[in-house]
């Protein structure tokens, strides 16, 4: 009886909890980028998915170069070594687009929807650039140990029928996300510059009166956004494989995460990321075998006992988004400011 319960837990752990934490971290990092731009520049950046893709692409190119020269991190993926370069180039991209494109609209005090259309232009350009450089196909760049814990090792260790595997990419994702989030919160809440960003996001006019330089705040925002995008994009690519067009599809769950948590609020972005990730997995998980373990005897249900086919994962984030917009449009953490 207890064994059955443990097996059911292992099953859920393997197919929901572990992937959910990893996916939630990726979404949270993505949503943080969207939320930072929203809080400071006050627009919804449709190009954020492509920025993530761009960062991942640069990281992949550097990874290949490192691999070709025999550099590596042993059990860890070489991409980690390449990631700083990806971050720097992506930061450069963000600062460049701001200088060439967004700044003009800031000076003109354009309305948010104009920024939105501008970001669509950036989205187009970047998606073309990425496909031009690396091509539209799948790219493999993960190396090193594939698993931290293999399903079989878990079975042998615990004696359960169900395995619980943890991929290296999942472990790295979670650790990186925790470190990055901690750093970000330390920066926003403890440093003078971070506080000035929060102040600017809270009350632009008063920030000006206090002598806070808006262009500097905007610059730092893009630096953080670019770094976050490169990290999120690379982690997602390591975990699920890199394919340029999937990143456009990521925009929806990322925006859903940011809005569900309260757009503009970093804490909300993280909470939203996990809400969306776990909802997607819980709703599309086939509970067949879990039900089998939890019911007495050898009975197993005929169907998959699945609320929604896996193909509709995206629909889950959409429905949560719509429900939140209807019930509490400001999101869980009533966002607006950093």
């Amino acid at each position: 009886m207890l064994i059955d319960l443990l097996n059911a837990l292992a099953l859920i752990g393997n197919f929901v909890v572990v992937p959910g934490i990893a996916y939630g971290s990726q979404l949270a990092l993505g949503a943080l980028g969207v939320t930072m731009v929203y809080a400071v520049l006050r627009f919804s950046n449709f190009a954020h998915g492509e920025t993530m893709s761009f960062g991942a692409m640069v990281t992949i190119l550097v990874t290949w170069a490192l691999q070709a020269h025999g550099f590596g991190l042993g059990p860890l993926p070489t991409a980690l070594l390449a990631l700083p370069v990806g971050m720097i180039v992506t930061i450069g991209l963000c600062l460049g687009t701001d200088r060439l494109i967004y700044r003009y609209y800031r000076e003109k005090k354009a309305v948010p929807v104009t920024y939105l259309i501008v970001s669509v232009g950036v989205l187009f350009f970047l998606s073309g650039l990425i496909r031009f450089i690396i091509g539209p196909k799948d790219q493999v760049f993960a190396d090193g140990e594939r698993f931290i814990m293999k399903a079989r090792a878990f079975k042998e260790m615990t004696g359960l029928d169900q395995g619980l595997a943890i991929k290296t990419s999942q472990g790295i994702t979670v650790i990186t996300a925790v470190v990055i989030v901690a750093l970000l919160f330390w920066f926003l809440n403890r440093t003078r510059t971070g506080k000035s960003m929060r102040a600017y996001s809270d009350n632009e006019d008063l920030a000006l009166l206090s002598g806070i330089n808006p262009e500097r705040v905007v610059m730092i925002t893009w630096i953080i956004t670019g770094a976050l995008a490169a990290i999120a994009g690379t982690l997602y690519g390591l975990d699920k494989g890199y394919k340029p067009f999937t990143y456009l599809g990521l925009v929806l769950p990322i925006f859903a995460s940011a809005i569900v948590g309260g757009v503009g609020n970093p804490l909300g972005a993280i909470a939203g990321g996990f809400v969306i990730a776990f909802s997607e997995l819980l709703v599309t998980f086939a509970y067949k075998r879990v039900v089998g373990y939890l019911t007495p005897g050898d009975w197993v249900p005929d169907g998959l006992v699945q609320l929604l086919s896996t193909d509709y994962k995206l629909a889950v984030s959409f429905f949560i988004l719509v429900i939140v917009l209807l019930i509490k449009p400001t999101g869980i953490f009533s966002g607006k400011t950093l």
Binding site: R192, K195, A199, D202, L206
Partner: protein
Amino acid sequence: MTYLAGEGMCGGYGGVDILHQCSIGVDKGEVAVVVGPNGAGKSTAMKAVFGMLELREGQVTMDGQDISHLKPEQRVQLGMGFVPQSANVFTSMTVQENLEMGAFIRRDDISETMSGVYELFPVLREKRRQLAGELSGGQRQQVAVGRALMTQPKVLMLDEPTAGVSPMVMDELFDRIIEIARTGIAILMVEQNARQALSIADRGYVLVQGRNRYTDTGTALLANIEVRKAFLGG
């Protein structure tokens, strides 16, 4: 020569002048109060002095120096502090962070100024870890004034600091403002509560439709029958 003075100011929004040859000013250690009916251009005159409104005519001088062309941020650097009428605190930040942000342009040690503000407004020391958005109206005004004081300004400009606070809190605030003036800071403020404000004012300006109507000491204006009849309700 008045320390801070806007002289013969003309200007407004969208080509329509609100101010017509309007002059206001204040000296160090003084409290100057601008009063007048609604729409008299009181707040506009303040904005003009602070550089938030382009002047078509006239000039603003500080310490004898023409500052008419400076942006508000630059005037802050020169030693002007401004407390807007509304949205004058960072609601999502703690009281202490609000004060820190007030001192953003300073690179030296701000702890002394901060304890000075806490001495002036002891309740803020108690609530320094609370979010400014969670404070009462009067306490928020204290945060707002405290934030402006953090730059160690030579001039403090207040746009209706007692808007929406209870009479008791208002008296308290006025006391604090006098205290600030005693430290040698020039205080220029716009007030809706004309009678109380004039009673603490060294200088009083009564504006009507963007023009100076009466200019005198606070006590003199309070004693002036015409002013009393027209603007102070008898």
